[in-house]
């Protein structure tokens, strides 16, 4: 659990939040977070870590066992209706009426937020156009593709122009092109001042979009900080080297003082420990006659951090 400090510009402040289900399952074991206004915050964690529980407790869909939640300085216990008016929720599951028309879903949602119908129609046109769904306004939600349904959830969450947007795995099952389009849209939204809290399984998403993140495992925050800070904790680098010619066993023997592994006939995996430089390693590789045609990262840096942290946490438990 990380500590938090009170600042006036907190968009979302959670202190010692606990959730114990009737079955006895402890979904959250005292989570504290302080997300600043305008931040793009990522919440990472394996399945069942408590991400969705946390999001739905903030949105008022799950009751909390103990702890406090403040949205833009408003306590959800003291003034839940006002706190809710600042939040837009994009849930993981499709929870609109599939028999309703796309435009009606958006306009009715605006109505629940007290927006008069003529204004709601104008706002619906705006958000549906932004998300590329205006052409589909007359179709029932059932007729939309999976990606379109995801965008409809986002449009619905934005119609009342919330200060904080909670996104619970918004790009799950969305194809690469659409996902990138969604990223651009979220970046623009963040640039315009909306605070965004994103839970996702895609580490690349967090790396590209979020300024800060927290890693949650088994109902507890086990790491919190900026993406750069977390990557700095990774004390080694792994590179994949593509060679021009197949690697000979004799050449590999000459590289025994490097941490190197043959992946296939023309690929080597090089791990650099603290203190080692790429220059040193390449001098040794060149000396063997191996010609490197391409260098790649072995995977997402953040993914390595994430896997390390989760593994360490699981081993301690």
């Amino acid at each position: 659990m990380s500590s938090t400090s009170t600042t006036p510009e907190s968009a979302l402040k959670i202190v010692d939040l606990k959730k114990v289900y009737d079955t006895g399952t402890e979904a959250l074991k005292g989570v504290s977070l302080d997300i600043k206004q305008g931040e793009f915050f990522g919440l990472l964690g394996p399945n069942g870590a408590g991400k969705s529980t946390l999001i739905s407790m903030v949105a008022g869909l799950t009751t909390k066992t103990s702890g406090t939640i403040e949205v833009a300085g408003i306590s959800v216990d003291k003034d839940p209706d006002k706190a809710k008016s600042f939040i837009g929720l994009v849930p993981q599951e499709f929870n609109f009426n599939i028999f309703e028309k796309v435009e009606d879903i958006i306009v009715d949602q605006a109505g629940y937020y007290g927006i008069p119908r003529p204004e709601a129609r104008t706002r619906a046109e705006k958000v549906l156009t932004q998300l590329g769904l205006w052409e589909k306004r007359g179709d029932t939600a059932m007729a939309l593709s999976g990606g379109m349904k995801r965008r409809l959830l986002i449009a619905r969450a934005l119609v009342h122009e919330p200060k904080i947007l909670l996104l619970d795995e918004p790009t799950a099952g969305v194809d690469v092109e659409l996902r990138r389009g969604m990223w651009d849209f979220l970046r623009e939204l963040s640039a315009n001042g909306t605070t965004i809290v994103l839970t996702t399984h895609y580490l690349e998403e967090v790396e590209l979009l979020c300024s800060r993140l927290a890693i949650i495992n088994k109902g507890e925050i086990i790491e919190e900080g900026s993406v750069k800070e977390l990557i700095a904790k990774l004390n080694y680098v792994t590179l994949l080297l593509d060679t021009k010619e197949p690697i000979l066993e004799a050449q590999k023997v000459l590289l025994r003082d490097l941490k190197i592994k043959k992946v296939d006939e023309t690929t080597l995996e090089l791990t650099l420990n603290p203190g080692e430089t790429v220059n040193d390693a390449f001098r040794k590789i060149s000396a063997t006659g191996i010609q490197v045609s391409n260098i790649r990262n072995s995977g997402s840096r953040l993914e390595e951090v994430f896997v390390n942290i989760i593994e360490k946490d699981s081993n301690h438990a």
């Binding site: 739905s56 869909l61 799950t62 006002k82 008016s85 009426n97 009715d108 629940y112 619905r156």
Partner: protein, 257 residues
């Protein structure tokens, strides 16, 4: 939310349900009209013509108010239990729960849908009865108040059923095994004064008896029980179910995880 945004939220819910009720009229409005037309024809005209007068009224005149009330009760109840359970099952209820609408407004939205359908069906069934008998109105205000209170009461009751229901089967158990027997034994087809003392006393424990009799009094000016008691029972039960619904909503029972 100040008053106006709350009203907009409430209006949105009511408008949506009204459009749904009218759009699927063959499921919401037509069945009670067909069923009651059969009741009027078979029990009122074919069999009723051979039944002696009750309280000086022809049998068909006597049963019309009870049959109207029966349709109104079923329609109001089924509207809230089905719309609420469907919203819960599809999680579309989240659309309202995440919004700043106070809990009582969400309850009012669902309940108004039930009252609306109950009243529309009531008017349609009264209109259907005109094909079989003459309309007599003793006191329009009592008819209106009894109809509103009963549909309100059963809309709340339907909501409570919807909150506790965990499957589609659970939303038909109460209407089939509780509501229908109570309605049939609530003096729709007979006067409880015709029953032996034991069964008459037993019938006084059936709340639907008071609704049917209040409604019948409004139309025909006859009742088996005191009209003041009828309204006290209806009012008391309506307040009870309202408070129960509010309590369950605030606790998040069946709504929140």
């Amino acid at each position: 939310m100040n008053r106006s945004p709350i009203l907009i939220g409430y209006y949105t819910m009511v408008r949506k349900d009204f459009i749904r009720i009218v759009r699927i009229w063959s499921q919401t409005l037509l069945p009670p009209v067909i069923t009651t037309a059969l009741y009027f024809a078979i029990f009122g005209t074919f069999i009723g013509s051979q039944v002696k007068a009750i309280n000086g009224l022809s049998y068909i005149s006597f049963i019309v108010p009870g049959i109207v009330m029966m349709s109104l009760i079923t329609s109001a109840y089924m509207n809230t239990v089905s719309t609420f359970y469907f919203a819960k099952w599809q999680r579309t209820i989240d659309e309202q729960l995440v919004s700043p609408m106070p809990m009582w407004t969400i309850i009012a939205g669902f309940v108004t849908g039930g009252v609306m359908r109950g009243m529309i069906v009531g008017v349609l069934v009264v209109a259907t009865s005109l094909f079989f008998t003459h309309l007599v109105i003793f006191n329009a205000l009592i008819i209106f108040c009894a109809a509103i209170l009963t549909s309100l009461l059963f809309s709340f009751a339907g909501l409570v059923n919807g909150i506790f229901a965990k499957s589609f089967d659970a939303i038909s158990i109460v209407p089939t095994f509780v509501l229908t027997p109570l309605t049939y034994l609530g003096g729709v087809f007979y006067s409880v004064n015709q029953l032996p003392p034991f069964f008459r006393t037993l019938s006084l424990g059936n709340p639907i008896l008071y609704m049917v009799n209040a409604f019948r009094y409004g139309f025909l000016g006859v009742t088996d029980v005191s009209i003041a008691v009828c309204f006290a029972v209806m009012g008391g039960l309506t307040v009870f179910f309202f408070l129960l619904t509010l309590f369950l909503f605030i606790r998040g029972a069946g709504l929140k995880r």
